[in-house]
Symmetry: C2
Subunit: 491 residues, 2 copies
């Protein structure tokens, strides 16, 4: 029996339609690149075509994309990458010796000494060793084994891979995964796609987006009624919320994970992005091991890093790694098998990660420049973090927590009832309407808080602090102006 006979119209209709596609994929939402961005791209086209607007440029403050905002690449990183790509340059006097040495070392780790060869599925061994050394140094000597390092296609890839490994079961035994609200929407998107159960725990906006174990427990207890919670995800420093977790808080979380039998996923891609006085980045790995063997030999922890953020902001190369701690060796073998199906992560991204984890050392020719460039980026970000907080807290109706770390601000905004009613009538989230109007009026593209999750009845938006200082000032002013007008229009 041919399909034609089964369904008379099938040879004319599409095989793949909204109705017949994977409905899990259909349900995925991803606001960071959602309708706001599509509209922003349209407006850019319109501007190009000469359409008159009250602004001349679209400013995409929706994504944490440093280079797109004008940040310059770190010289040493790019020298090593150029040398790896075109080894004839190894003979060129213009390149410093340490960059050449580094490129040679990476090339020696590649099949046929070419970054055009597939690497081992887990990543190039010498790079994984450098990652392990970096972690050891970062964590004050706590050992790290390169066999536990997996290089990945950005942190996104590693996070999705771990979730894929975890999620199974049906109905009440379906795997639940705890994520913070507000969250980075990769998590909700991946959970939807993989049909894991999303378990929300709320960060406390009034305590600077702090994480409270009482709230974890509330959320877990409620979730146990309908699914099987097995993992707890933390983003530290936080996206979109910008908080940096205290050591005490991390300890509490680890104790909670142990008591409750949860695997910890620590998203630490912003580990170098800490700005606020008194805030320090503590890795989950370090705290776990400092809590003693009772914890460090038991709690399963996976932590994620990326080349996309910190001072380098090298998003396009899609470099990243995860370190797995206390993972069952048989599961590790399964993980290795799983990543091998896609052969390997981009080798240029692996090479970039190598430079990040093993930067030039004192005495080496590139040390001074590297250190200066890195410090300049981080100082600039710190200044912009402060500027943004202060500026937004002067806007009537805004409440903005300090941007302690990461690259975003997530102010609470006031939307008048009249505007809420109008948005609801149009089937729109009120903060979506706010952001869309802002885009149309000023060319500034933000992401509405509803794309990250927020407490019912509150409204926010996320903005990166990445634009160059003068542009950032302009953006902050324009948002304040727009907000005043908006409040007036809907009062």
């Amino acid at each position: 029996m041919s399909q034609k006979e089964v369904n008379g119209s099938s040879h004319r209709g599409k095989v793949l339609t909204l109705e017949t596609m994977n409905q899990n994929v259909r349900q995925v939402e991803y606001a960071v690149r959602g309708p706001m961005v599509l509209r922003a791209v349209q407006i850019e086209e319109e501007l190009k075509k000469g359409v008159k607007k009250p602004f001349t440029e679209v400013i995409k403050a929706n994504v944490g994309d440093a280079h797109a905002m004008g940040q310059k690449p770190i010289t040493f990183i790019r020298q090593v990458l150029a040398l790896c790509a075109y080894p004839a340059l190894l003979e060129d006097d213009k390149f410093p010796e340490d960059a050449k040495l580094r490129a040679r070392r990476i090339l020696d780790g590649c099949g046929g000494q070419s970054i055009g060869a597939y690497s081992a599925s887990q990543g190039i061994e010498c790079i994984r060793k450098d990652v392990a050394s970096y972690i050891e140094k970062r964590d004050g000597g706590i050992p790290s084994n390169h066999e536990n390092i997996y290089l990945s296609t950005g942190a996104s890839d590693a996070i999705v891979t771990m979730l894929k490994l975890l999620i199974c079961g049906e109905g009440r035994t379906r795997t639940g995964v705890m994520i913070s609200i507000p969250q980075y929407p990769l998590y909700s998107a991946a959970l939807t796609e993989l049909q894991g159960v999303q378990i929300n725990y709320y960060l406390d906006e009034d305590k600077c987006w702090g994480l409270d174990v009482g709230e974890l427990r509330r959320s877990l207890t409620a979730a146990r009624e309908h699914c099987n919670p097995r993992a707890l995800c933390i983003i530290n420093p936080g996206n979109p919320t910008g908080q940096v977790q205290s050591r005490q808080c991390i300890e509490d979380v680890i104790r909670f994970a142990k008591e409750e039998g949860l695997l910890l996923m620590a998203d630490e891609v912003y580990q170098d992005n800490v700005y606020a006085e008194g805030c320090v980045f503590h890795s989950f790995k370090k705290v776990l091991f400092e809590m003693g063997p009772e914890f460090s030999s038991v709690v399963e922890l996976v932590s994620f890093h990326s080349t996309s953020k910190c001072y380098m902001g090298e998003c396009g190369f899609r470099g990243g790694y995860m370190e797995v701690v206390n993972l069952d060796p048989e599961v590790k073998a399964q993980l290795t098998k799983l990543v091998s199906v896609r052969l390997c992560s981009p080798v240029s991204g692996q090479a970039l990660m190598d430079v990040v984890v093993n930067p030039p050392q004192p005495g080496e020719p590139s040390y001074a420049t590297f250190t200066k460039e890195r410090a300049a980026v981080l100082a600039d970000l710190a200044e912009k973090a402060k500027l943004t907080e202060e500026s937004f807290n002067n806007v009537p109706g805004f409440h903005c927590n300090p941007v302690q770390g990461a690259m975003y601000t997530f102010p609470r905004i006031t939307i008048p009832q009249k505007a809420i009613d109008q948005a609801k009538a149009a089937g729109q989230a009120p903060d979506q309407m706010y952001c869309m109007k802002l885009l149309e009026t000023t060319g500034i593209c933000l992401v509405p808080g509803s794309g990250f999750g927020q407490r019912e009845g509150t409204f926010h938006f996320r903005m990166t602090i990445l634009p160059p200082k003068e542009k950032l000032k302009y953006v902050l002013e324009k948002i304040a102006e727009f907000n005043a007008q908006f409040l007036q229009d809907y009062s």
Copy 2:
């Protein structure tokens, strides 16, 4: 109620074990990087430690990894990549003008003129335009729209993404996907992971691994009893089988897909790898459009390409694209959303793809070198294809079809009953035992035919033809010697 109370031992056992992990992932098999390769890596370690072996080197003929086998990168490609990575080189006289122009054009397409910026989720627009022009030219002017091009993280990523979009339903309505046997095991692995139903159709070894529509129909009819077949995958030129499909055969397949309401997935990553006299690569897109609007306006086709194969062999950069034809616009929007969750494919891989689809033209400074280098690689491969076929057909017990295209040979081998019995007693596939013994005796790493699928009772292995000629000759000799000994041992 805490997990401790639910299950007394949970705070001491692992959250994630073989039993509690995603069982779909557990069932995935991926022979190309399976047990053979793990053992090969161990043997390499042993050699390094000075363990005596009857050989001095492991030769990994298991993967189509050109650079790892010593193939040199194409100069122009790497010049452009180095310029993109380190734009200070744009001032350097040593780089030809056309490489600089190209790098500038790519950088102009990047956010902040940096390949360190995230690109649009679908890929950089000017590169997608170059891909579309390439396809148009390749296909004799049949139009291609850059809106239908998705740049991907290797072809692997695009293939898995399409399968993910397609697969849904439960029980008898579960999506079935037809794949050739022997197949490239990415397909079976992805189907297992996504719980699609794998529908095998067998290539005809006696007709040079030809594809016969009768066999497609048999396989489809049988599958309709237990699932909902919705897609048909073809690899042309074939991996692991090396056949190049005739135009007639492609037409037949397209007609079949239309009649039966199947979406076509054409894996054309070896489109430049055609060696045999009289064989030509025909793209599915071209044939589809030449069959007239009755077909070209109806049949949903997705075709895949990659930077990893052909003359460039740039596997490490993880570049690729897919072109979607006749996809429902709403589904296309869903596809775009889906790929946006992982932000973008590696921009250096995108840049590489740009050079591949838009190589230097006559009159440009790099034209001569580029053309010479490309021709040399392809001529060398053609020679090795011939050499391999001839050599294997002289081995008693081997039957080897011509390597018309791609990069592999897949000879049928004879395994004596005694060896079969011994393998079965050890719970091993007989060809796995054969390959493992070959590895231990000679250091040559192949993939057993059972990793790709083969007709019951037949045995094969896959070997790449990529080793440099002298090494390839050595490999061919060693395999012949080993085979003679093996037949003798088990006679």
